[in-house]
Symmetry: C2
Subunit: 102 residues, 2 copies
Amino acid sequence: MKYDTHSELTEERLTHVSQIFKALGDPTRIRILHLLLDRECSVNEIAEKLEMNQSTVSHQLSSMKKIRLVKSRREGTTIYYSHDDKHVIDLLTEAINHACHN
Amino acid sequence: MKYDTHSELTEERLTHVSQIFKALGDPTRIRILHLLLDRECSVNEIAEKLEMNQSTVSHQLSSMKKIRLVKSRREGTTIYYSHDDKHVIDLLTEAINHACHN
DNA sequence: TTAGAATATTTATATATGCTAATATATGCA
DNA sequence: TGCATATATTAGCATATATAAATATTCTAA
């Protein structure tokens, strides 16, 4: 029997992990998540700060919500988004910090 | 002046980080890197183990080499690949380990 | 130098992705 | 109800991506 110190890479885990990384593999989504590091933001707030189309921001938020990277909360007509996966946030900040010391 | 505990997300860092994550955001490349966790492998070896086309494997290795995720070493007609970015390997194993405890 | 093995590259194709404009939906308020 | 605001969704387009087949390159050995 083979001795292996690494976790087995099942099909299910492979799909999940690649899905997460794929979500992080886009500048727009990274910028959005970076904005959400500290605090929640509304869709318009994000669109204005990043100087992007409201539709684009909404679209990306929707895709990230689908895989539970962010969550939303309604307050009147405004919807506030915040991150919803501490581990993914850790992966992101680690990568950014590392990029600062290249 | 705004007090911020997070690293500034410059355009250069954004490009670099999203590039890394994009590379990790594909099942094929993850499987290749997972094979290379412990030891170097030849192109054919990878292709056989993953039951994939030689051309496809070579292509993905080439794309990962371009951004220095893997490196290669020639021995006769055989070329052995191994990973070349400890930090990226850490990101990957962390993500896989986490996927094991979801 | 010629044949064979291992890898790389080129080309083609199908699919996925990101963005935008336009439209739709939902909420609050007069 | 009717209107304004905020967000979501749809449709279309241009680009990027992953894969595979075919071909080219590089090296070894006879």
